[in-house]
């Protein structure tokens, strides 16, 4: 099942559904499989919604999904193998599409997809000391980009991620030139600065739609070198998570 990334307007929709879930609470509506109240209208049949497992892009999480009604959202905790804590959330959109999201232990969205053709899809949250466990059995190395050390490059990454661009990225070195042209080709060079792009061109998620900003050369070159060092021994297809730290 291909996994894409949530565009900003999709993120907004997720936020809207979260608000709907709080505002639309109805004690007469069916309970979820774990006994919690659902938060939407008509429930989908439980035998369909209670999918025993979720799989996407090689990731999997085993658990019983709660029934989710149209336009609603539900959240449930799961203990996943390899994760000390896991949280799954499921969204069922008014237009009949479904989305899932992966958030970190603090609840920040780290990856998401929409339009997954399945009932009862949602978010999986994992946490471990060293890496984000995004699903049972799979961990993604975290590349921590220091705001103090990488200055304007870190600022750009932080802003781009806040705008909805993904922070879990897939190494794709063969695509680097095409992605760079697709991302920066229409931008004018700024004397004394360099064009930085996020996601970087060496990742599958780069290219069209990447955020481009003219930034300080030393910050750009250092951050690029740092990401290069961090990915040095990772083959194409590997995923990393880029996270901004102080």
């Amino acid at each position: 099942m291909p996994v894409g990334h949530l565009a900003p307007h999709h993120l907004n929709r997720l936020d809207n559904f979260a608000r709907m879930a709080k505002a639309g609470f109805d004690p007469n509506q069916p309970r979820l499989a774990n006994g919690e109240w659902g938060d939407g209208g008509t429930s989908v049949p439980s035998e369909v919604a209670q999918t025993p497992s979720y799989q996407g892009d090689g990731r999997s999480a085993v658990g019983v999904l709660p029934p989710v009604s149209s336009g609603s959202r539900a959240v449930q905790n799961y203990a996943l193998p390899g994760a000390s804590l896991a949280l799954a959330a499921y969204n069922n959109f008014h237009d009949g599409k479904y989305g899932w999201a992966i958030a970190d232990a603090a609840g920040s969205l780290v990856d998401a997809a929409i339009g997954v053709a399945s009932l009862g899809v949602g978010a999986i949250v994992g946490n471990s000391a060293q890496s984000a466990v995004i699903a049972a059995g799979e961990s993604v190395p975290i590349v921590e980009v220091s705001a103090a050390r990488f200055g304007e490059a870190a600022d750009h990454i932080m802003d781009a991620q806040a705008a909805g661009l993904p922070n879990i990225l897939t190494i794709d070195r063969l695509g680097v030139d095409a992605n760079r042209v697709a991302a920066t080709g229409r931008f004018q060079r700024v004397p004394g600065l360099q064009l930085d792009e996020y996601p970087p061109a060496m990742f599958r998620e780069g290219g069209v739609g990447a955020s481009v900003r003219a930034i300080n050369s030393a910050d750009n070159m250092s951050a690029g070198a740092y990401i290069g060092n961090s990915c040095r021994f990772l083959p194409d297809g590997s995923k990393i998570q880029i996270r901004i730290v102080k």
């Binding site: 061109a201 050369s217 750009n220 690029g224 070198a225 040095r232 021994f233």
Partner: protein, 160 residues
């Protein structure tokens, strides 16, 4: 001079890097001064700033001799630095996203970096020359248009 061939290398983040293959973190951090002098050097790794920020470049590599050839008149940047090829004779030349292995006799070299401007629709050319030299020096032979030559060269760098 022995010609080791010309390779197409994709440049990322405005840098071409020559480094000891055994380094775990070969790419260097850049300060403002590194940018204005055109290179960031430490033992086993030197990163040269490129004219173009990215894209395919042709990189021609030669080694041998005790002195560099005369500087090409159309070279836009020329920089000499010391470089030691490790005992396993394996170095890498490339950029942040990809590099290529080269075999060179172990020992100390003067490494010359020459960067040429793209002409027409051609791919930009970079020439790297390794000359045997027991006491190689740092030298900006030809400065780029935005280099600063007033301040002393910074001859240290740290892994990024």
């Amino acid at each position: 001079m022995i010609d080791l061939g010309t390779q197409a290398i994709s440049i990322s983040y405005s840098q071409l890097v020559v480094f000891d293959h055994s380094l775990e973190r070969p790419f260097n951090g850049w300060t403002h001064r590194h940018v204005t002098q055109g290179f960031a050097w430490r033992a086993g790794s030197v990163a040269f700033r490129t004219i173009e920020e990215g894209g395919q470049h042709l990189v021609a590599v030669t080694f041998g001799g005790s002195e560099h050839d005369a500087v090409a008149p159309n070279a836009l940047m020329v920089i000499d630095v010391p470089f030691e090829v490790p005992p396993d004779e394996t170095i890498e030349i490339g950029s942040v996203s990809k590099s290529i292995l080269f075999k060179l006799p172990a020992g100390l070299y003067s490494l010359r970096y020459e960067c040429f401007e793209r002409s027409g629709g051609d791919v930009p050319l970079i020439r790297l020359s390794f000359c045997r030299n027991s006491s190689p020096e740092f030298r900006i032979v030809r400065a780029g248009s935005d280099f600063s030559l007033k301040e002393p060269l910074v001859l240290t760098a740290s892994p990024a």
